[in-house]
Symmetry: C2
Subunit: 277 residues, 2 copies
């Protein structure tokens, strides 16, 4: 996966995996960011070509603590996408049948097919982050190292088989996290998203971040890298993720399928012969 | 299902099921149409409430001949939808495992769950329309009357279990159909959609329409009605379908979940106690 200078400045660095205070905000308010609108238009255009071609799949995995803006990020990325080939899926705490299968089982039906672009709102990585804070099974039944290996193998397999995989973490400062929790209670359009478990999430935020750092260090690979995006200013976070996604699509460079001019001519002749003028 | 005067003017009339020449265009160019933008905003707003509530499902089934504008219609309807709860799925000629199951089998995994709005680009109705023109099995193995009954029972079951079901047919004149086939060959962005089978589709258009009329007459029910939308002018067709969908959502009237003020107060107290200020 080729990375431009812009995208690579957000790539997770496993040598200094502590990102609790890591670029929560870009230092300089005026630091030049690629225009959001231009990136979204590029994403829309490439997504249509991807869909026309049916040759490659794209999966963007979005993670981050509660209130980090994953939902609104996904809405933004979808702005110019064709819903025929663009799908978003959310994964929360495993329930029912999900808990009775290996942890990759529940995401596989939702993976992008060739031609599709899919965004996961949380993903199989929950099995090595949230599940460590709030275990689904007996804690002694987990072997995290094996799970890391499973994830690396799974993602390597997907990339090998034709999926472009981008993993982003929306980083949030504690101040902003707390302000957003309070706001959720004030707005009728946001209130339904508040869940009592958000309070537990807040209390265990340090533990959650630590597990996330460990998981990212263990699952950050060249073919499926993690990007750490400063999330305190939503518009900034969206512009960054959109730019990263647009750049990756640019490297992929999907084109509309080319037709042989001879074939087109033959089609026109056939249509005319059948009364289409 | 309540219908406004506007929507009901497009309801299929099974007593005169010939729609080949049926309102291909609205008679009067200036006939007042509800504004597209207003309808799309309403759809977006209701779809978000539907998703917040997770109490009802909405399924819009879009049919019509090749080039009738189903894809662009679906893109338009999605304009303000939240991709987390909005999905579009396309069904073409059954292939592989799809041909080895009953004809409803392949659509069921894609039905909307509670909270979701789904649009089908073609659907289980292909089994009583296209499949009559281009049989998948030995022609003598089909019993259309049984299939109509299966569809009525299936759709009645879905409505009974909490799905609002709207079926639209984009009607196309022969002139416009032929013009669009030619255009598909001229535009690089459209060319990939052209398939040799489009020529066969054109040749068998009368048969296709006849089977569609019969199928609609047999599967038009009060709880899952068909709407016939004049499709020659794409912008008009989109405005009509958007208005019909917006009206149905208005009758459904999803609201954001209400919270007990006492519960909200308790949440605020808990957050404060946990250091969120």
């Amino acid at each position: 996966m080729k990375l431009s200078a812009f995208a690579s400045s957000f790539v997770f660095d496993p040598r200094k995996p502590r990102f609790r205070d890591y670029r929560t905000l870009l230092d300089d308010e005026d630091e030049e960011l690629p225009g959001l609108e231009a990136s979204l238009e590029q994403i829309g255009e490439y997504q249509r070509r991807l869909w026309a071609n049916r040759a490659r799949a794209v999966l963007l995995v979005a993670h981050g603590p509660d209130t980090s803006g994953k939902d609104s990020l996904i809405r933004t990325l979808a702005t110019y996408a064709d819903p025929a080939g663009f799908h978003a899926w959310s994964f929360s705490r495993p329930q029912g049948a999900e808990t009775r299968h290996d942890f990759l089982w529940r995401v596989t039906p939702f993976l992008p097919g060739f031609g599709e672009m899919v965004v996961f709102n949380r993903s199989h990585h929950e099995a090595v982050i949230a599940e460590r804070v709030w275990p689904v099974h007996e804690p002694e039944s987990y072997n995290w190292k094996n799970r890391y290996q499973s994830i690396r193998n799974f993602e390597s397999h997907l990339v090998e088989e034709g999926t472009t995989l981008i993993k982003v973490w929306l980083n949030l400062s504690e101040d902003e996290h707390s302000q957003r929790l309070l706001k959720r209670l004030d707005k009728p359009r946001k209130r339904w998203k508040f869940d009592k478990s958000d309070i537990d999430g807040w209390n265990k935020r340090h533990q959650y971040q630590e597990f996330a750092e460990e998981a990212m260090a263990a699952t950050h690979t060249e073919e499926a890298p993690w990007f750490i995006v400063p999330g305190d200013r939503k518009s900034q976070a969206r512009a960054i993720v959109a730019a990263i996604l647009a750049e990756q699509l640019q490297h992929l460079a999907p084109e509309y399928p080319k037709e042989d001019e001879g074939v087109l001519k033959e089609y026109r002749r056939l249509l005319a012969k059948n009364g289409v003028k």
